[in-house]
Symmetry: C2
Subunit: 314 residues, 2 copies
């Protein structure tokens, strides 16, 4: 038995054959071509899945199910893409669409939720039943696992942890609220804070580092701090404060066993994960809200989408 | 079959006989006398339960179970009071203690969680599986029901929705964090904001209203606003903004079907509940994070503690 995981993105769709142990046997990617519309997009996906199975010696009888991760709001109970701007979909019944091509269990979920499920079942969260995953990218994606199951909220509208506000009436967010966590603690937030600090500190090493690396990115302030730059250190310290406070909010509300941190910034390793653990532990020590919540780096990387999607139908 | 609900408070312990339909047949209260210690407190509780059963014609064979709500952190899986400052308990095995006196199912939970369970099963949340209850009192208590079950977080340390921060580095909270929601949106928060506004507006009607009512309380600003006072209106508007933003955070993270609002301020009815609904709906309209989340007033009042505790063992 093999499962198919589909990770739909704005630019490309990735599909993979996944074992029940969460190993990807084979995967491939093809352009999303969302401009051709919903039906075309998933007709091609169906063809690609059939090819991938055949090319690897599997027939449809070996297929245990197909799980699909979508970048947008998904009502997984109804199998509906409620709204996914990046692929131009709104109120589309994806399970019905895919059932034309396959007579196996089909499930659909939001991509961040699906990645969290992948990490909980087969990655950094293995062995834990209550897990919150936070992905620090352009925004902050979130996935909540409760009692070993994905918690998506009514209509799939939960898990939007990046849009909790941490500064009332703060920076304007694209979502319409002001002061959302992702304005401060996403990679974008870090880059913005780095740029502000550079504008105010013309002598900071950050200018040289940015020049050498073709521009300001999420590593600029960290590299400057490592080289002893005070302004760089101030940016990092403030960023970690924002990051920790939002995570602590999730700790006070949900108190999962473990936080899994994904996205590029999590690769800063000891520069991010260690101080983050320290900040959280200090808070729980002081407040007595024990046990501690483990903080670990995501381990499946870009494969979390495919593996997690497949896990939806296992 | 009858169930016993026990609502333990710092001053008094309330016990009640509860039917499986969530009706209180009979209840009574007695002083907590926490200074006599844990064992004495619950030996007396056991005696009172036996008396209440006997006085109402029930024998121990009619007793389906005993549920106990505790004002503090409780590990309900282990049956442990982790820490309950108001009744002087720390790391006490309450189920073991009560099992000396009764050979029936015994369960224990945090009082705010237990009240939420009562409201979800038998009160304002009836018929809903995913419910968040928020009680606006001295602080802000919270209870989260997911898939019809109490969600308490690891070690019972979740559900502390009042200690999510909404203003980073904001007002100092007793818990040690800065900017916690309860600093702004609890009854205490409202009273503090009323006092600040009065100090700055010596001509405000709030002074007269407070004098007539024996001091500033949670109604002062609302009464002033109703009488056309600008400063009173400003306090109410700002308070509702704080309240709505914290609720919206819980909406983005959990998106339950319904929010239940308890505590004295919820009795302001149309002055609070209507604008709150409007603010939440406006946000969900704008963000597309639908369906709407209902916002209703708690309906069990002070009985929620007894009924919810009994529901723990149903």
């Amino acid at each position: 038995m093999v499962y198919v995981g589909v990770d739909v993105g704005g630019m490309s769709i990735k599909i993979g054959l996944v074992t029940k142990e969460g190993k990807i046997l084979k995967s491939k990617a093809f352009p999303t071509e969302q401009e051709k519309g919903f039906k075309s997009m998933f007709a091609r996906t169906a063809d690609m899945i059939k090819d991938l199975l055949a090319d690897n010696g599997f027939s449809l009888i070996d297929l245990g199910g197909i799980g699909i991760g979508i970048p947008g709001t998904v009502d997984s109970k109804l199998g509906l893409i409620v709204s996914a701007v990046n692929i131009g979909c709104k109120n589309q019944d994806l399970i019905k669409e895919m059932s034309q091509y396959f007579n196996v269990p089909i499930a659909v979920g939001n991509d961040a939720n699906v990645a969290a499920l992948g990490e909980q079942r087969f990655g950094a969260g293995k062995g834990h039943e209550n897990v919150v995953m936070v992905t620090l990218g352009t925004g902050i994606g979130g996935g909540i696992i409760i009692d070993g199951k994905l918690y998506e909220g009514n209509g799939g509208a939960g898990g939007e942890v990046g849009h909790q506000i941490i500064e009332i009436d703060g920076e304007q967010c694209n979502c319409g609220r002001r002061g959302c966590w992702e304005r401060y603690a996403s990679a974008t937030g870090l880059i913005n804070q780095t740029k502000y600090a550079m504008a105010e500190n013309s002598n900071s090493l950050m200018h040289k580092i940015a020049n050498e690396n073709g521009g300001v990115d999420g590593r600029t302030a960290f590299l400057a701090k490592d080289a002893g730059d005070e302004a760089g250190k101030a940016v990092v310290d403030k960023y970690l404060h924002y990051l920790a406070e939002g995570l602590l909010n999730l700790g006070y509300i949900l108190h999962p066993e473990i936080f899994i941190i994904g996205g590029g910034i999590s690769h800063e390793g000891k520069n991010v994960m260690e101080p983050l653990r320290q900040k959280l532990n200090d808070d729980f020590d002081r407040s007595g809200m024990l046990p501690y919540i483990e903080v670990v780096q995501a381990s499946l990387g870009n494969n979390a989408g495919i593996i997690g999607a497949a896990a939806l139908v296992m």
